[in-house]
Amino acid sequence: MSTQEARERLELLQGTLDLLILRTLIFGSQHGQGIARAIQQSSDEELLVEHGALYPALQRLEERGWISAKWGTSSNNRKARFYSLTAAGRKQLVKETTKWKRFATAIGRILGHEAEG
């Protein structure tokens, strides 16, 4: 039961997670755990990101050349792999953001109408 829920959520989040990662990285390079935390915090803990699902997404984004990765040292002196946005990633972020906003508006309109009717 619980695994089925997780799977559903993952599929739902497929595109969204990529967008959120790119968005997070706009403030500078960050490691995986940092990204997870940042998404959780900035969504007021509404979104629960399964940390394990983050890494395949990072992997995918890196392959597409939207982010790049480098080993570095965290603020509390731990070695971690830091991701940063590439120029292509920046363009992608703009594109995805616009798309997502149009999508959200459209869905919102439909749901709004239904609510009224």
Binding site: H31, A36, E50, G52, Y55, A80
Partner: protein
Amino acid sequence: MFRRKRKMSDFSAEIEAHMKLESEHLHEQGLSEQEARAASRRAFGNVMQAEERFYESSGWVWWDQLCQDVRFGLRMLAKNPGFTSIAVLTLALGIGANTTIFSVIEAVLLRPLSYNNADQLVSVASTWDRNGVTTPYSSSPPDFFDWRDQNRSFSSMFAYHMSARALTGRGDAKRLHIVVTTAGMFSTLQAYPIIGREFVAAENRKGADHLAVLSYGFWQAEFGGLRDAIGKTIELDSEPYTIIGVMPHDFRFPVQGSDIYVPIGFDDKVMTQRGAHYLRVLGRLKPEVSVAQANEDLRAIMSELRRLYPDKDGKWGLQGELWSRVLVGDVRPALLVLLGAVGLVALIACANVSNLLLARATARQRELAMRRALGAGRLRLVRQVLTEGLLLAIFAGAASLLLAHWALLAIVRFGPKDIPRLASVGLDTTVLVFSLGVSVASALLLALLPALRSSGTSVSGLLRMSGSSSLNAGRARSALLVTEVAISMTLLAGAGLLVRSFVGLRSLSPGFDPKDVLTLDVSVPDAHYKNSLALESYWDQALAKLRTLPGVTSVDAVTPLPLSGDDFSSSFRIESRNIPDKDEPSAELRWATPNCFQTLGIRLRQGRTFTDADRLGGLRVLLISETAARMFFPKGDAIGQKLHFGASGGYERNEGEIVGIVGDVRHFGLDAPIAPTFYVPLSQAGMDNATFVVRAQGSPAALGQSARKLIQEIDRDALVGEPLLFETLLANSLGQRRFYMLLLGAFAVLALVLTAVGLYGVISYSVAQRTQEIGIRVAMGAGRWQILSMVLNNGLRLALVGAAAGQVMALMLNRALKGLLVGVSTTDPSTLLVTATVLLMVAIVACYAPAWHATRMDPSVALRFE
């Protein structure tokens, strides 16, 4: 494919770092260290799953799996050395045969000629239509000039003829291959001297023509590659030629190369020699002009010439054909047949190995089922089988190169010398790529059935090891075997037809007796002999000297010598008949000494042969062959007729009275039609060339060198050819046929052996599988004979079905042999019958061993067999 080289360990390190960061974060938030660690793990989810997903997305999976498959495949092959070596050897034979024949085809047919844009070079030839067959012929100088000047398709064109001349004045005379050519050769072939100059059109004139352009090889050999050779003179047939240039070292013309290029010296009367066909013409097409377009152009020119010169050109046609095609005209179909044959051999080899793999797959069914049960996908299993096939094929491919290397050495050494560029054959890159291609194709082919079977098996059925699937395997193997037998039948029948044709040709009489006869070709420089009388006394002197050799029973001379490849034909007029010039018949012309007919064993049919009295100044006499008598004097009134002959062009005409009829001689070889022939006394013709025929007891070959010496003593500048046994010439005339027959025969035997091995394997296997059944039969009282015939039946049924299918296949495919057969039809029933018999006998032998083994089985052991 290699998208990223990030290692798994790097990914694991990242996840570990994540865990530490997360638990530290949670710890700071107030959780205990232990709680923090557990919480971070919870938040992360399944670590192993993340790692697996990383691994699968990384693009290295296929590589890892390939390595696994290869390692596993190698282990399997190493574990069954018997299976591996038989499979590799079988495939190596199949692939090696292909590599060998393809090497030959590559060297002879495919490799472009070594001229710039060789695909623009077109051979332009006069053609002679007879009985609907168009035969290309040499061309005459005036025709050549008209074609060259009137065409709009060629950027340049030249005419040449080949000649053998003696290099004199530098010790013993040496035979040189000379190309006598118009100046257009250089621009047409786009090849120019590296030092000195080429000759120009103005030098194609009698008096200005004693110039020589040397080949690089001749320059190196005779002048040590020194530049001051330019301007020096060399003597050809005792006449001086000034050296004006040297060609590049990679220049060969014609394809086999020649020593010297000299200008044709046309005289003032050249434009009257429209009937003198002795030139070959090559042209270079303008860019963008096709051979077909050029032919249209040429046909228009020729029809105009026919209208202008009806008596000389009236019967001639004109045709252009790619030179590269012309060079291999008669070789091409034979080589393509051989390529088809080796393709079939490779199919048999693949079928055999496929059979072995199927047998093994049946034995490995439990293993495969286990792998399926443990989660291996179908594709994964198919890939494993394919990998094994590929490994076998790669090993076989490597081994085949060695086999092909040996085969090619033998072909170059023993193959016929008249296949152009055969000597240049070798395992070059093109051949290696082809060989690799054949190997991979074989791998796919042989792994096809086993792969289909391995993927189609159901887990539950296999683990239970039900009998039905092995029955299917049996069917697949039977089908493969029937195919093998059918292919073998086709190849055997093809080889059989070639053998029959060859044996038939060998048994033909050449019309003379070549046994114990030595031939020795001699040319004397014209410049040494003022007139016909001087030449006559030279031949008399030479004949007398040769007769002093020990063991010699008779010496005579004839020219052109039968089977030598030279010939001379002439049109003629019968005095008693009034026939217009253009309808003059033509016949072959030979010059011979009086006793030549006895020496060579050519029978006198009617009248008399020449006598010593038929000399210069005597009555001009002629002998004609039986065929000539039948063709031209069907009423039997040949003797006493007067003929006028000599080419109707610029050559002077001769005359003679027919005094006798002699037997036919197959001058052009046993496989060529008999041509009507006239004989003229050698002493009445003033010839500067003739071939001595020396009949001797014992071994005439041993006389060769002393005969040469004797001739050279008379005139040092005489050109003396290599002494050759007439029997050798006769054998060489069938050289290509023997070559094709031996190769196709070898492939057919190879196919037969492979098929026999396949048959043996399948029957042995089925006996092993039916051990229990046979045990029961024996226990129930079946006799040895019953068991033997049961097993034999099993194998022979397959062989019979295969042979029947093979008969049909042979009838269809062997049509390709049509051009290679003389006197045998492609559907010759007795050949098919003999072939089928041989095949079935081999099948019986192949099945007998396992059948015999089955009869020896101890029922008590057999029944317990699992």
